[in-house]
Subunit: 357 residues, 2 copies
């Protein structure tokens, strides 16, 4: 019943052929299958010394556990929950869509994705949503976090319940999250400055539009942007930012007012949402040549404005990448597997009219 030292017969254990299995490890370590299994799934009842022998055997053979078979046997399914912000924000919409699309393809790999919407900018609500997650029906959570104490606490409780958790687009640095998936917003701001600085050769002022000074990403983008402009483009100066509350009407009104008050504006940087307001303000602007404009997030509107030549560049983070990366990382965390880092880096994408996807 057991295969002998069989040679190159189709199925034999051909020492060099198929990759090693648990049985090979058992044989190599001189223990039984059961013991290898105990070590592999660190179950109790195996002596330290034996465990080391098994480990050494795995090392020697280059054993790699077959995750597909393991998961098949475990009939494990990775049940992941995405907590996204509700509201009209275009980018959040894109995230939601990316979750859905990814979900339909992931079901092949026994990955079940679920996205839940949480009222935006509402720490207690987010904390409540986190607390409502039941370890019996979910294995991992990705959350678009706000950096507030109650949220951090809730994430701590979640982790304590044995659920792996990572932050998605907006980080909460001192929480129990095991990773952050998203871009470095300081870098994004610096990149915008590098573009706009070069796009604006004549001395003058830059209009800066942000959503809210309370949003961490916006603050970071502004920081990166203003630092680079000040250091590398001394012929430009940033005006005090307009707080547009990510609302097109507010942005249009305030920006128009700034055009009237400040004749020396030579460029526009918008680091939040509400970009339709910029288009309107520019249309209503009296005379003058067109202004270089750099904005964030490649929404359908931003895309249209790029194509129309109203925007010059869009700084983007790829929602699809972020979701897929979050899924892969969560699965790896759940399995206790390492991740393939170069694949998981989310890059700060620059889109212009010509390289639109």
């Amino acid at each position: 019943m057991d295969q002998g030292e069989g040679a190159a017969r189709g199925r034999g254990p051909d020492p060099g052929a198929g990759r090693p299995t648990v049985r090979d490890v058992a044989r190599e370590a001189g223990v039984s299958l059961a013991t290898v299994d105990r070590v592999l799934n660190d179950r109790p009842g195996v002596r330290e010394a034996t465990a080391r022998r098994v480990g050494a055997a795995m090392e020697r053979l280059g054993y790699q556990r077959d995750m597909a078979a393991a998961n098949l046997s475990k009939r494990r399914s990775y049940r992941l929950v995405f907590l996204l912000a509700a509201g009209t924000n275009s980018f959040m919409h894109m995230l939601r869509e990316a979750v859905e699309k990814t979900a339909s393809f992931s079901s092949m790999d026994r990955i079940a994705l679920q996205s839940r919407l949480v009222p935006p900018f509402d720490g207690p609500a987010l904390a409540a949503a986190l607390d409502a997650i039941d370890p019996r029906d979910t294995d991992g959570v990705a959350v678009v976090a706000t950096d507030e104490p109650e949220v951090r606490d809730a994430m701590g409780r979640l982790a304590a319940r044995g659920i792996r958790v990572l932050t998605l687009v907006s980080d909460a640095p001192n929480s129990a999250r095991e990773r952050f998936v998203g871009i470095d917003n300081v870098v994004a701001g610096r990149t915008a400055a590098g573009l706009l600085g070069r796009f604006c050769p004549a001395p003058g002022r830059i209009a800066v539009i942000m959503g809210s000074a309370l949003l961490r990403d916006h603050v970071e983008r502004r920081l990166g942007f203003e630092t680079v402009i000040a250091r590398e483009y001394p012929h430009l100066a940033c005006l005090p930012p307009i707080e547009g509350r990510d609302d097109a009407d507010t942005v249009a009104r305030e920006l128009s007012a700034q055009f009237a008050a400040e004749p020396g504006i030579v460029g526009i940087y918008s680091l939040g949402a509400g970009n339709r307001g910029i288009v309107r303000a520019l249309e209503g602007r009296p005379g003058g040549r067109r202004l270089p404009v750099v904005v964030h997030e490649l929404t359908p509107h931003a895309r249209g404005a790029l194509m129309a030549g109203v925007f010059d560049a869009v700084i983007n983070q790829d929602a699809g990448h972020e979701i897929r990366s979050a899924v892969r990382i969560l699965c790896a965390l759940i399995d206790g597997r390492p991740t393939f880092e170069p694949q998981e880096r989310i890059s700060v994408d620059i889109f212009m009219r010509d390289n639109l996807p």
Copy 2:
């Protein structure tokens, strides 16, 4: 032995619980397991009508074949070969490295990658390498193709032997390749023009450096670049391209000569390799302010030049993405599975000093 209509007992067939299996499909279609299997792996010996009934049952149940289990049973391993160009080209180096890194991680999923080097710019050699591929030990091939008749023919023979084949960075449009994985080089050239056009506000000429007028990607990039410059930046004119043969010394010499002959150069676009030559030519240039420079491929040297402020932007295609995408697509082709398109689009990346990875 067979489970009855058992209700919510842990393992029962809970009509709504676990996803449907072949047994469920068989029951639903009123046929046996064997028949479902015959349909699934389109084996002969099943009537048209029966096949349709099974198909309908799968539809109704939303059956999705468990690829992990299937592959486990088949003990299939995806054996893929990458044919890359040998030589000193930095980008090819990066491709090779990406194959190796991906290989080490893919072995977990029973994917075995192998890369083979072929003399560059040598159609017959590439054709020979393609012909040397044995269907008994490889399932799919990704090739950095040159667009030559003998290569196209060899790809046809490869496909005829039942090996799935796709082109990798450089396409061969009318061949038997099932897909092309790479960027649109016309788009890449247009993107470079959009950047350089904006970086050069003053009227003048653009020095253009290409590797060879025989390389398809280079020709396409040049086409895209010159079209956009002519149409959208009339204050700029492209000089006749320098053919640097992807060689730093040649590039340095020819570009220095052009600096001497042409005083009105306001920007540089290099669409091939040999970018170290540009740095040298710029260093040796007499006086004058610094020139905007846009190049292709984020090699270590290009990266250094970006950081030093010598280059302004680099147009890049992510070698890692390309390799991983090729692997995923080949596996999908082999399995006869659909691919997840949004994930497989290779984008034209723009890197500046501030958004370097």
